[in-house]
């Protein structure tokens, strides 16, 4: 074997072992676990083929989690990405108090989601909370934001958008600042309107950034459930249960490893599908420098 091959492998080896041991290996064992029953007491796990998956298909909580996660993703992703773009456009121009505005947008990013959840929990409290206070000024009555099936999930979405938008703004801001200024001068000479310039020049040039931000937003829509743990524990009546939270409950509160493994396989398949969609389909339409 060539010397460089040995050296190369040796340099990569520590990272490779850690990566495989804690990403690929658990993914593989999860897949195997999903084909077996949960061991109970002295009863060892028994091979059941795809039974866990057919059981899952008739589990109403699973469908609730899928539905909630879809709604959660379809609101948080566009809302945080569009807000991030607007924020970046705002602080990229010379508005008064630009540094302050940028700081205001970005600060929630530095807070732990747990801290954010605690603060917002207080806002949502019936009677005492900020929201009921503000509604009170307009003659509104008390409302149990997190206890009502109709408002609990929107309340979670609001928290996630508040936390994430500023983070994504940073990447748009970086892209906007890297844009050559002569483009704008050219457009001005040609008599292009601002809206037209934005639509025809800025937005296409921001496509790689948008793809990057989208990938992160999609991952977060399935990964970030800290606030659910603190604020609602999936309730009321499973109205805020998300896929990863259900995995956590199945694995560490019911200790049902078969269910947890089956759910994880579904989540992994979903993430894989989304990755393929983003890089395969969307990626082709993106122009990289």
């Amino acid at each position: 074997m060539r010397k460089e091959t040995v050296q190369g492998w040796l340099l990569v080896l520590p990272a490779l072992i850690l990566l495989v041991a804690f990403t690929h290996w658990p993914a593989a064992t999860t897949l195997i676990d999903s084909l077996y029953t949960t061991p109970k007491g002295s009863r060892p796990p028994r091979f059941v083929g795809l039974d866990n998956f057919t059981d899952l298909a008739t589990d109403p909580v699973f469908w609730m989690a899928m539905r909630n996660n879809a709604i959660y993703a379809l609101w948080t992703i566009p809302a945080s990405v569009i807000l991030a773009l607007l924020m970046a456009l705002a602080v990229n121009t010379a508005i008064p108090g630009r540094a302050l505005a940028r700081m205001a947008y970005f600060t929630p990013t530095m807070l732990p989601m747990i801290a954010v959840a605690n603060i917002w929990l207080f806002f949502y409290t019936p009677d005492y909370g900020l929201f009921d206070h503000i509604l009170g000024w307009f003659g509104g009555g008390r409302h149990n934001w997190l206890g009502d099936r109709d408002t609990a999930l929107p309340a979670m979405i609001a928290v996630a958008v508040w936390k994430e938008a500023g983070f994504f703004m940073i990447f748009y801001l970086a892209a906007l600042q890297a844009m050559p200024p002569d483009l704008k001068e050219c457009a001005a000479l040609e008599g292009s309107s601002r809206l037209n310039f934005f639509r025809r020049v800025t937005l296409p040039l921001l496509m790689p950034t948008t793809l990057f931000v989208l990938v992160n937003a999609v991952i977060n829509a399935f990964r970030l459930v800290d606030h659910v743990v603190v604020m609602t524990r999936g309730g009321p009546d499973n109205a805020t249960i998300l896929l990863l939270y259900y995995i956590y409950e199945a694995g560490f509160r019911f200790w049902d490893t078969a269910l947890a493994a089956t759910l994880t396989v579904v989540l992994l398949a979903l993430l894989g599908l989304l990755a393929w969609l983003q890089f395969g389909v969307l990626g082709k339409r993106v122009h990289y420098r």
Partner: protein, 269 residues
């Protein structure tokens, strides 16, 4: 026509900024005033540190701070040590299986350890590591993100510098240490900041893998503190919340420029 749209834009930007900072200001108000002012605004409300004193006394926050500090330091040092050689090999060496290995590694960008709670818990149980700080850190040490980021930076190092060092008789590791690492300093700072803030704030995996005061990081400690003994004393909970976020928040406010630039650098690929 132009001026009104412009002022509207500025107004919009400011409304958004106020909306974004309001929750934090509200938290600050609650934490620094006596409990009865938590939901009542008055300019004459007395300032107090009592809430912070009570929170600090009610739970072992000193220990939680220590645990989190050990955790983020351990992760940071190990990530640098593990990712640097791998990134160098992927950037500047030709070896059999390189592209396959690189592809295997990149898969972690989409499937993060956070999702694999159940599988990783079992591994830790087999290794006898449940409820240790090492177990919180282990799944994150081989970081595809870190390797990718450093590789991109190493690729921009001029080959001539590398060749010159080689002619001077510098060994492989010597070149990595003397040429590549110093030139990649901004990337290390960027990656370090991203890593520290991620793991300072990480919650779900530490919640699952720890079950005692001596290992719990701040986030888990805070969630237990807020959910159990405090009932609904919002002033104390808010004080504890701000206390646990304070180190990062203060560091961010002091070094805002570096933070923002680092996050940007970590994002541009």
């Amino acid at each position: 026509m132009r001026i009104p749209t412009r002022s509207l834009e500025i107004l919009g930007a400011w409304i958004l900024a106020v909306l974004w900072v309001l929750p934090l200001l509200y938290a600050l108000w609650t934490a620094f005033h006596p409990g009865e002012y938590a939901t009542r605004f008055s300019l004459t409300a007395p300032l107090t540190l009592e809430n912070f004193r009570n929170a600090w006394a009610a739970a072992p926050f000193a220990r939680y701070f220590l645990n989190t500090t050990i955790l983020v330091t351990l992760i940071l040092v190990a990530q640098f040590a593990v990712c640097t050689p791998a990134a160098f090999a992927f950037a500047r060496m030709e070896f059999a299986g390189r592209n396959v290995l690189f592809a295997i590694m990149l898969m972690q960008l989409m499937v993060m350890p956070d999702v694999l709670l159940v599988g990783n818990y079992r591994t830790m149980a087999k290794l006898g590591l449940v409820d240790t700080i090492l177990a919180i850190a282990l799944p994150y040490l081989g970081s595809a993100f870190g390797i990718f980021l450093l590789r991109q930076t190493f690729l921009t190092v001029p080959q001539q510098l590398d060749d010159a060092a080689r002619l001077e008789g510098c060994t492989l590791l010597g070149r990595l240490w003397r040429v590549y690492v110093p030139l990649a300093r901004p990337t290390y700072i960027a990656y370090g900041l991203v890593s520290v803030s991620y793991h300072w704030n990480n919650f779900l995996w530490p919640l699952v893998i720890t079950n005692s005061v001596n290992t719990r990081p701040l986030t888990v400690g805070l969630s237990i503190f807020a959910s159990t003994d405090q009932g609904i004393d919002w002033s104390i909970i808010t004080a504890a919340t701000l206390m646990t976020s304070a180190p990062l928040l203060v560091a961010f406010l002091l070094f805002q420029r570096q933070f923002v630039q680092s996050f940007m650098r970590a994002g541009i690929r």
